[in-house]
Structures are given as structure tokens and as C-alpha cells.
């Protein structure tokens, strides 16, 4: 499971329904076009026999109480931000793929924890009126296919088995190709990928070969990452302006839900809220609220806002509303007997697990030099739960160079004069101005394979200090003394 996709079916319709409380439980249809040419694009289940493509007069005849709305770009943006916030709760690498769809890079994430996180996000978004589906797979495309089949979470294990029975339209073929493939009796992705890609390419051209790749779930896709929310602001314009607090509070709840989710995904809380009401006469009413306890609890925010709005009397109608949350880090806990010494222990260990999965567990940790004189002898340990108090300073101050290593060491040729290096040739070359050595190191002499090296420190005429090693196999440049 490398990628996950969060997908909301009928996204545009849901965005409109979420923004208008009056539409709850009523038949709604999104329409496009004007006058007699207007047709239904999407319809809610309550609309019964109203289907996409139906002319509006026919739709209203079939469902007399049908509420007609056009797409609402502002509501879609607001809802998409909520979806992205859910994506950021799973990973910081999120792409806003399309309206109602985002793709999350999960590489390195712990599978069990991530799956639990997906179920949590589904529950949370459902409570906020967004019936999301989440799919996960080895490629972004596979994750998106899985999301469309999810109920509500689907993790694809066996790719071939999953793709075999998916209908062709998942791979989005053009109308011409679809007709040709149907003519060949091909109706599923499995049937298409059973044919050789080269043969499809010969008959359907480059677009056909690309279609075959999509059918295989392999189409190359680099995620265009979205930045996590940096401002925690929500704004809405009322058309027409409103007079009562009810529509204001409805909208503020929606805002608060989204902003709180963005804050939680970023590991932040709100320490203050700022409410601005834009009035019809182009003036505004602004009030700051410092929260009694910084947090991201929507109900407590709304209690503060509602208590205040109940006391406000305005001479003008409200044409718009803006809510701004001031972010803050959750307060540090007081150190206790069993304290881990970490601000956010969950994040610390989870990120270490992800890093281990990304680069390998043997390449992440706290370095501990080994009790050996062998060059570059160290091991990586699990970081300490608590950073211990520093040891007292040593009696003798630290001297010598600090090495920046070339791993592996670079082979070199060294010209000697009077048994001392005089010139260096290799990845680094030049006349040697001064040298210090040899410092002979030997070890494991009691073992079948003892080792011995000569260490030299040299200064090149052109500048730069380097550490050289001479072994039985020749000369090596260990690194720069920086």
C-alpha cells in the first residue's frame, strides 16, 4: 500500500447540499445550461427517477418538489479543503487530484496504523456530511480505482485479481476506442490487459497503448503535491444578505469543522478566533476571542461564537462572514516520572517508522561509535526516550580534524617522496604541501582476518585537508577534514 485516494461520489452536489441547510433530505438536482436547454447533471437519491441528462421540465414533472441548483464553486472549494485536510491527516504528501478526489503518498507508512487512520477519517468526514470512500494500492491510479469500488475502505492486495472484473470505463477510454473495444467483445480491464500491449498499440496507436497502461493500473503519475493549510481562514458571501443568526451559525459550524480538521492534521490547535461580519453597507463588525483553553474542539468554539452572537444587534444585514483561527502548538506537558521527553511522542515514533521504511531501518537512528579503532566503526541505535543529561566535560579538550567521509572511500594514487606522500591523483588531485602520518592502526589480530591500515592527513597545495588510508589494496581517500 503505497498510495491512497480519497474520493467523494457526486462531489459537486454534496458541496451544494452541505452549504444549504434547507436542502437536507429534499430532492435536489444540479443543472447546467439555461432556459429550455437546461439539463440535469447530478441528482440526489431523493429525486427518484430524475437522472443525469434529463431536461429540466421533464425532471420537475417526474419529481414535483425537486430543488434545482447550479454548481457552486465556492462551496466546492470549501469542501475540497475539508477533503484535503483528511488527506493530510494520513500523510504530509497529498495531491489535490480533482474536485472530490485527492491522492496521498503513503510510502513508508505503517500499514496497520494507516488503515486504522483511514477508517477514522471516513467516520469523521461522514459526521461532517461527506460520505468519502478511500482506496489504497501500489500506484496512485490503482488507489483511485480502489476508492471508486470501496465501501467505504478498500485496500488492493492482488492487483491482477482486483483489475480483472473492473469495467472498461474505469480507464477512461475515448468514445472511439470504447466502441472499437466493445466491438472486439472487450468490456473489462482484465480482458483488455490479457491482450499484448504492443498489439493494442499497433491497432489503436499511442492512445491505445496508454489506455492499456491505465487498464493495468500502471500509468506513470508523479503527484503534484499540495501545500498543507498555512492560514486557517474561512470566508463566505451571502447572496442575498441575511438578517438572523441561524444561517450565520450554520455556516460558522461548517467553517469551524474544516478549520479544526486542518489544524488537527497539522498537529496544531487554535488559541484565538477572529470573527468578522461584513455588513451590507460595506462596513464590518470584528471581534477577537481568546479561547479559555487552546484546542480544536468545534463545539467549544461554537459555544463561544454563539454566546457572543446572541448579544449582537446590528443595524445592517450581514453580507458575508469570515472566521480566522490563530494557530498554536499544543501546550507542553509538565515533565513527570514517566514522561518521554518528547513534545509529540506519537509523531516522533511514527515518523521514525516511516523513515525506516523509506531508507531502511539500518540507516536511521542515533549513532554510537564502537569500542574499536577500525575506521568508520559505529552502529545505529533506537533514539533514547529521554535525552540524558550531558556528561561532564573531559579533562583534555578535543583536538584533531572532523572528517566528512566519502562512502565508499575513493581510490587514489599517491606519489611518495622520502616515504611521505608528495602528490595525490584520483577524484581529488594536487601537490601535497604537508602531511602527517603514518598513524598505524591494527585490529582483530586474534581473528583469522586481522586488519591493518595506515592513516595520513594531507594538505593540498590548492587548499583542503584530506584523510588518506593505505591498505594492502592500495591508497584511498577517506574524506575531507572539514
Amino acid at each position: 500500500m503505497n498510495f491512497a485516494a480519497l474520493w467523494v461520489p457526486d462531489f459537486a452536489l454534496l458541496a451544494v447540499q452541505r452549504s444549504e441547510p434547507a436542502l437536507a433530505g429534499r430532492p435536489v438536482a444540479l443543472i447546467t445550461g439555461e432556459g429550455r436547454k437546461a439539463v440535469v447533471v447530478l441528482a440526489s437519491p431523493e429525486a427518484g427517477r430524475v437522472t443525469p441528462g434529463l431536461a429540466v421540465p421533464l425532471a420537475t414533472a417526474r419529481c414535483p418538489g425537486l430543488q434545482l441548483r447550479e454548481r457552486d464553486p465556492a462551496a466546492e472549494v470549501e469542501t475540497q479543503r475539508l477533503l484535503l485536510a483528511a488527506g493530510f491527516a494520513l500523510s504530509p504528501r497529498v495531491e489535490s487530484t480533482a474536485p472530490g478526489c485527492c491522492t496521498v503518498d503513503l510510502q513508508g507508512a505503517d500499514a496497520a496504523r494507516t488503515e486504522a487512520g483511514m477508517h477514522r477519517q471516513v467516520l469523521e468526514l461522514r459526521q461532517l456530511g461527506l460520505p468519502v470512500r478511500i482506496g489504497a494500492g501500489q500506484t496512485p491510479l490503482l488507489a483511485r480505482y480502489a476508492a471508486r469500488r470501496a465501501a467505504p475502505v478498500l485496500i488492493v492486495g492482488e492487483r491482477e485479481e482486483f483489475l480483472r472484473d473492473l469495467p472498461l470505463d474505469f480507464a477512461e477510454p475515448g468514445a472511439t476506442h470504447l466502441a472499437v473495444l466493445h466491438g472486439w467483445g472487450i468490456r473489462t480491464l482484465g480482458a483488455l490487459t490479457a491482450l499484448p500491449k504492443a498489439e493494442i498499440g499497433i491497432r489503436l496507436g499511442l492512445a491505445g497503448a496508454e489506455l492499456w497502461e491505465r487498464a493495468k493500473g500502471e500509468a506513470p503519475s508523479v503527484l503534484r503535491l499540495t501545500e498543507p493549510a498555512r492560514t486557517f481562514v474561512a470566508e463566505w458571501t451571502y447572496e442575498p444578505p441575511v438578517e438572523s443568526a441561524e444561517p450565520l451559525l450554520f455556516k460558522l459550524r461548517r467553517f469551524a469543522e474544516r478549520v479544526a480538521m486542518e489544524l488537527r492534521s497539522a498537529g496544531l490547535v487554535a488559541e484565538a478566533l477572529s470573527l468578522t461580519l461584513l455588513l451590507e453597507d460595506e462596513t464590518d463588525y470584528r471581534r477577537e476571542f481568546r479561547l479559555p483553553e487552546p484546542g480544536a474542539d468545534v463545539d467549544s468554539w461554537l459555544r463561544v461564537l454563539q454566546t457572543h452572537l446572541d448579544t449582537v444587534r446590528l443595524s445592517e444585514r450581514v453580507a458575508g462572514v469570515r472566521l480566522v483561527a490563530t494557530p498554536a502548538r499544543p501546550e507542553h506537558r509538565q515533565d513527570g516520572l514517566f514522561d518521554t521527553g518528547l513534545t509529540d511522542p506519537n509523531s516522533f515514533w511514527e515518523n521514525l517508522a516511516r523513515l525506516s521504511a523509506l531508507v531502511g531501518s539500518e540507516r536511521v537512528g542515533t549513532p554510537v561509535p564502537l569500542n574499536s579503532h577500525a575506521p568508520d566503526a559505529f552502529r545505529l541505535e533506537r533514539p533514547a526516550d529521554i535525552v540524558p543529561a550531558p556528561e561532564p566535560p573531559t579533562v583534555h579538550p578535543q583536538r584533531g580534524g572532523v572528517l566528512r567521509r566519502f562512502r565508499p572511500p575513493l581510490p587514489a594514487r599517491v606519489i611518495l617522496e622520502n616515504a611521505k606522500p608528495a602528490a595525490l591523483d584520483g577524484a581529488v588531485r594536487g601537490e601535497i604541501l604537508a602531511s602527517s602520518g603514518p598513524h598505524v592502526l591494527r585490529g582483530d589480530w586474534w581473528k583469522p582476518q586481522p586488519w591493518a591500515v595506515e592513516i595520513w592527513q594531507v594538505e593540498l597545495a590548492g587548499g583542503g585537508l584530506y584523510q588518506l588510508t593505505r591498505t594492502a589494496g592500495g591508497w584511498w581517500i577517506d574524506g575531507v577534514l572539514d
Binding site: 504530509p92 510510502q107 503535491l225 498555512r230 492560514t231 481562514v233 497539522a266 498537529g267 496544531l268 468578522t276 469570515r322 480566522v324 490563530t326 494557530p327 498554536a328 502548538r329 518528547l342 513534545t343 509529540d344 509523531s347 516522533f348 523513515l355 531508507v359 540507516r363 536511521v364 537512528g365 542515533t366 549513532p367 554510537v368 561509535p369 568508520d376 566503526a377 559505529f378 545505529l380 533514539p383 533514547a384 535525552v387 550531558p390 556528561e391 573531559t394 579538550p397 578535543q398 583536538r399 580534524g401 572532523v402 572528517l403 566528512r404 567521509r405 566519502f406 562512502r407 602531511s435 602527517s436 592527513q457 587548499g463 583542503g464 585537508l465 574524506g479 575531507v480 577534514l481 572539514d482
Partner: protein, 217 residues
Amino acid sequence: MPRSTTIAELRSLVAAWTPAPLARSGDCIATGAPAIDAALGGGLPRGRATELVSAAPGSGGELAFGALLASTRAARQRIALIDAADGFDPCSHPPDLLRHLVWVRARSLAEALGCADLLVRDGNYAVLVLDVRGVPARILRQQPTSAWHRLRLAAEQNPGAVLVRSATGFFPAVPWRLVLRTTAHLGDLRRTRADRVAALTAEVERGHAGAREELAG
């Protein structure tokens, strides 16, 4: 309307729409290298990215990092090193100076940036160091600029400091870029490290106007 009121309103409007940095102005982490701390007004600014360029071999990049290790160790703060070219040598440092360090030995720049993306948002590290020295300039140039902007923006939303160590100044729009200009000779290795750290010279190549204002208080 008086002019000052207009400016105040404009400022409050801008403040409402631009993210407030989580770190307090002037809050910084001492590196233990006097030249660097003096140039930055006390140390690495929290909630900011800083680039430290060690152009020439022997200019003191590793010495400065050793000083940072000692400084953060004394304060018992955690530090993460993402090593894009796997050049860090733990055996060059006293073991006690490494006990607060998390070292990530990346195998490529892309891998290092992926790791930085995770750790910069972690919240447990006082300093995140991304070392790209040793990464060929060609590979650095191939990396989309957006990746560096993403890192910079993430740094601004988090309480720790971000230090990028490079061989050539490349980090776009970084608030602070310092260049180490020290020249080392073989005889210097006989001096104590503390003396050599004190002798490091750092030059401010880039100081963002806003960053300078912060420094001025």
C-alpha cells in the same frame, strides 16, 4: 481617514490572510559557533530555514556542525540530520555529543527531501539539518524549485529551526544564507576544536529584509 489608520488597517488585513509564524520573533537556537551566532543575531532562527554554505573543503562546515551538536546537547534538545550524501562521520565526535541526534542516511536527494518533508513537521526536533553537500550540482538543479519552497514554507509553520548545509548557495528564497570562509591548514589540527570553532568566519550572503527586521527587533 488618517494615513496611519489606513496602514494599520492594511497591516491587519494582510495579517489576517498571511500565516502568523508560530515561533516568536528573536527566538533562536545557539549554534555554539560565535561567528554564525553573531551573524544570525543569536543563533538559528526558529520557524525559519537557514542555509550554511561550506564552499571549499576545510572551510569548517563539520566543525560548525560539531559545535551545534555540543550546543543542542547541552540544552538537551533533539536534533535530526538528514544526510543526502551519507558523509557524516560519527567517530569524529565524542559519543556523548551524539546521544540526542537522529541521523538519517539517505541514498539520494529525492529520498532526503522525502525524509525532510516528514521531519520538518514532526515538532520534536529543535533543529532539522539537511546536508546536501556531496550531491552533484546537476542533481540539485534537476530538483524542482517547488520542493525547496515547500521545505521553506513548512519550516515557517513549525517551531524548530531548519538548517540546510550546501556546497554552493542554491536554496531559493531562503531567509538567511551564510558562507563559511575559513581556510584550514594541517597545523590547525593540533589546536583545540573550541579554538578552531572560535576562529571560524561566516559571511552573510543573503539576509531577507524581513529577517533583518526581526533581528533588529
